[in-house]
Structure formats: structure tokens, C-alpha cells
């Protein structure tokens, strides 16, 4: 079972709103993609708001083996890649009587113009 027949396996993903990331929901059995979409809505979206639904045939997904998953574990030595490794700058900026431009500050810069 899986790639043909009435009971084919599909994995369901959905987005709650236009801006939210795609989230895994669950799997279902359906004879084709169109019915898989209909069933995805009936099975998993009876109440919650939803902006988009994707169905993917399970046989098209390459999953990781346990060995491969174990290779994903990281050593905790990546400070140089993250803002955590540069936190000391806050203190240094204080010396120059300036606020540090941190992630919160920088990501707040989009949007409206000053005059608006």
C-alpha cells in the first residue's frame, strides 16, 4: 500500500494565516490528491482558521534514518555564529553612551515612514 490503490498515504501541511509558517498536521488515506485535500480540510480544519493546505504523497518524502538523525546533533560551540557571541558589545556601547542595536531593535525598523 502507499503509491496506488484507494488507500494511499498523504501527509498534510497547513498555514494558519498568510504570514504563518507551514505546519505539519497529520497523515490521511485518500485515493488521489484532490480527495486528499477535501479530507484534509474535513479531518483537521473543522474549527481552526486556515489560509492554505498542502497535501504531499508520503512516498515522495525522503525521511531521515535514525543514524542520520543522530548526525544532526550539534556541539554547543557556535557562539561566533549567533548574537549570543557578541553580547559583550552591549557593555562596550554603554561606555560610549549608546544603546546597542540588538535583534529586537533592528527587526522593528520595517514598516511605516517617520512622517506617517
Amino acid at each position: 500500500m502507499g503509491s496506488e490503490g484507494f488507500y494511499q498515504e498523504f501527509e498534510v501541511f497547513s498555514k494558519r494565516t498568510d504570514t504563518s509558517p507551514l505546519q505539519y498536521q497529520f497523515s490521511l488515506l485518500a485515493p488521489n490528491r484532490e480527495l486528499a485535500l477535501v479530507m484534509a480540510q474535513e479531518n483537521f480544519m473543522r474549527r481552526e482558521p486556515v489560509a492554505d493546505i498542502w497535501v504531499v504523497k508520503r512516498s515522495d518524502i525522503r525521511k531521515m534514518s535514525l543514524d542520520e538523525k543522530q548526525s544532526l546533533q550539534r556541539l554547543d560551540n557556535k557562539d561566533y555564529r549567533t548574537t549570543k557571541g557578541y553580547g559583550y558589545l552591549k557593555k562596550k556601547w554603554r561606555h560610549y553612551e549608546q544603546e546597542m542595536l540588538d535583534e529586537n531593535e533592528i527587526l522593528s525598523w520595517g514598516g511605516l515612514k517617520k512622517s506617517e
Binding site: Y7, N43, L66, D67
Partner: protein, 319 residues
């Protein structure tokens, strides 16, 4: 065991030790992961029974869809019936992925149901003759289901835990839907009050049975120990029954209803409810499909399955 060797080269003993270590630290086991045979078989039995019970459980309630007393009540109970079928589909998926290495599919689950090899919950073999029963199923049967299902929200098997999270969220609506019906009746006319009390009396024994016997001495087998050992659940059947009493008995009494067990009381010292045991022989008989509605509901399910066979054939791309 050496971490340098590939997992697929490990012996079964090494894999078992690794499996137990994973569940000890709270890691979730996934469908494609190695698992001990008794873990797989226990899960298949538990989850296929749970899934098929959701589907069979929709049948006593769907009887009340055409007879609901108002449009609002009809919409409410229709939504609940649809949820139960949805829960059935979720759970069958979980069971099917576990059965896949054994070459078994949904078709086998349905055939096992029809042949009596796969059992469904004792409560769904019972009659629901009045609107009071429809309310009581939502309030107390779903209440009992919430007690057993929340006990497995952290189950070591990831797909089951995730399915239960979705299901329990909807069960909250079901319980409140049932409460709304029961409270309207309990605050209504004398006739309505009698209707609720009759429903409580009718369902009491089935509700006690819902959690299963206290130990294996009653029915010969019990999966309690193995499900606790493998962290599928944490509490015993009796723990869950006691939790149910503690949560629901004060509420039942507060509505002016009485319990059909006059001997029942709460033993403060032992911190336990003392109650009259249901007839466990009757329980064994009911789950062997000898309950009052077992055959009627099974035949309804079989007819639906047979009548829709042409749809499965028409859409079968393997043909």
C-alpha cells in the same frame, strides 16, 4: 555499546537498551523507529480499539441527529458526530502505520471489526433511548474518555501522543456540549429531571466498566503493566476510575441527581471512593459483541462498508 557502529548493525539487545533509554529521557518513538515487538503489538491493539471505538461511538449519537429538540442542538450533535469520525480516522492512521511492517491495512481493521476479533468500547454497545442519554454520553462518557486520554498525552509513542492532543482539545467541546444538554434538562420540568436521572441509572454500570477491570484476575489478561512499563500511560485502571469519581460525582450530586449505588462513599482515611463493583462477567460478554446494541450497530457499519464498496473500487487507481 559503541556509538561508532551504525545503528543498523546493532544487536536487538543493544537496540532494546537504546529504546528504553530514549523513553526514559522522554524522547518520542516514531513509526519508522525500531521498537520491541510487544510494544508494537500493545500499541496496535490499544490504538485500533480506540480508533474503531470512536467510529462505533458515533452511532448511538447519530441516532439523535434527526430527533434533536432544536436546530441549535441538532447542529451541536452533528458537529460532535463528525468529530468522532474524524478522531477515528486519525487513530486508524496511527494504528495502520504500526501494522504496516506486518502487511496489515485498514481493510484488515474493518474485517477484524466485522468478525469480532477487534473489540470496541463497552459503552458503545449500549442503548441511548432518550435525549437524556444523548446528553449523558457527551457529559459522562466523554468525561470518562477525557480522563483516560489525558493520561496518555505524554505517551512515549509520538504519533499517538500527537493524535491525542488534537482529540482531547475537541473532547472539551464534547463534554461541554453534553453538560449543556444535561443542565437544561436538570433545570427543566419534572419529566425532564426524571429523564436525566434515568439516563444516569442506565449508564452507571457501563461508566464503571469503561475504565476496565482493576487487574487481570477479572478478564484473564490486562495490558496495564506493559503500557505503564513502556510509558504509554502512567495510571492504572483503578486510579483513573477514582479520578473520574473525584471529578464528576460532586457535579452529578450538585444537579440534584442521585447515584444508583447507595453503598458508595468517600473513605477520607484511605482517600478512596468505595463503591459496588459492576458485574465483570457482564462486561466480558458485552465486549464480545453480546451487548444490547452490538449486532445492530455492527450490521449498520457493515452495510455502510458494503454499500460504499463501489466507490472504493471506482477510485482505486491500482485497478
Amino acid at each position: 555499546m559503541s556509538e561508532a557502529t551504525l545503528y543498523q548493525e546493532w544487536t536487538d539487545e543493544q537496540k532494546y537498551a537504546h529504546f528504553m533509554k530514549r523513553i526514559e529521557v522522554g524522547e518520542k518513538i516514531e513509526a519508522d523507529d525500531w521498537m520491541p515487538e510487544d510494544y508494537r503489538m500493545t500499541l496496535i491493539k490499544l490504538i485500533s480499539m480506540h480508533g474503531i471505538s470512536e467510529i462505533m461511538g458515533a452511532l448511538p449519537e447519530k441516532e439523535w441527529v434527526p430527533k434533536a429538540p432544536s436546530l441549535k442542538r441538532k447542529l451541536g450533535i452533528m458537529a460532535k458526530v463528525q468529530d468522532e469520525m474524524g478522531h477515528g480516522q486519525l487513530l486508524l492512521r496511527v494504528a495502520e502505520d504500526l501494522m504496516k511492517p506486518l502487511g496489515r491495512t485498514r481493510e484488515d481493521i474493518m474485517q477484524d471489526l466485522f468478525s469480532g476479533r477487534l473489540k470496541f468500547h463497552n459503552v458503545f454497545h449500549m442503548e441511548a433511548p432518550t435525549w437524556g442519554d444523548a446528553g449523558l454520553i457527551g457529559w459522562l462518557v466523554d468525561g470518562a474518555a477525557i480522563i483516560t486520554q489525558t493520561n496518555m498525552l505524554n505517551a512515549s509513542y509520538g504519533p499517538y501522543a500527537r493524535a491525542l492532543k488534537r482529540i482531547c482539545a475537541e473532547e472539551v467541546f464534547h463534554a461541554q456540549h453534553g453538560e449543556a444538554i444535561i443542565m437544561a434538562l436538570a433545570e427543566g420540568t419534572e419529566k425532564q429531571k426524571v429523564m436525566v436521572q434515568d439516563a444516569v441509572n442506565r449508564w452507571w454500570e457501563a461508566l464503571l466498566m469503561f475504565f476496565g477491570p482493576g487487574d487481570a484476575s477479572t478478564t484473564g489478561t490486562s495490558k496495564q503493566d506493559i503500557t505503564i512499563k513502556y510509558k504509554i500511560r502512567t495510571k492504572t485502571n483503578e486510579d483513573l476510575r477514582q479520578d473520574f469519581f473525584t471529578k464528576y460525582i460532586p457535579r452529578v450530586l450538585s444537579l440534584g441527581l442521585t447515584l444508583p449505588d447507595e453503598t458508595m462513599y468517600f473513605d477520607q482515611e484511605k482517600n478512596l471512593w468505595v463503591y459496588k463493583q459492576p458485574d465483570w462477567n457482564k462486561f466480558k460478554n458485552i465486549i464480545k459483541n453480546n451487548g444490547p446494541k452490538s449486532n445492530e450497530r455492527l450490521s449498520l457499519r457493515r452495510t455502510a462498508y458494503d454499500t460504499n464498496k463501489w466507490v472504493r473500487e471506482a477510485l482505486n487507481t491500482a485497478n
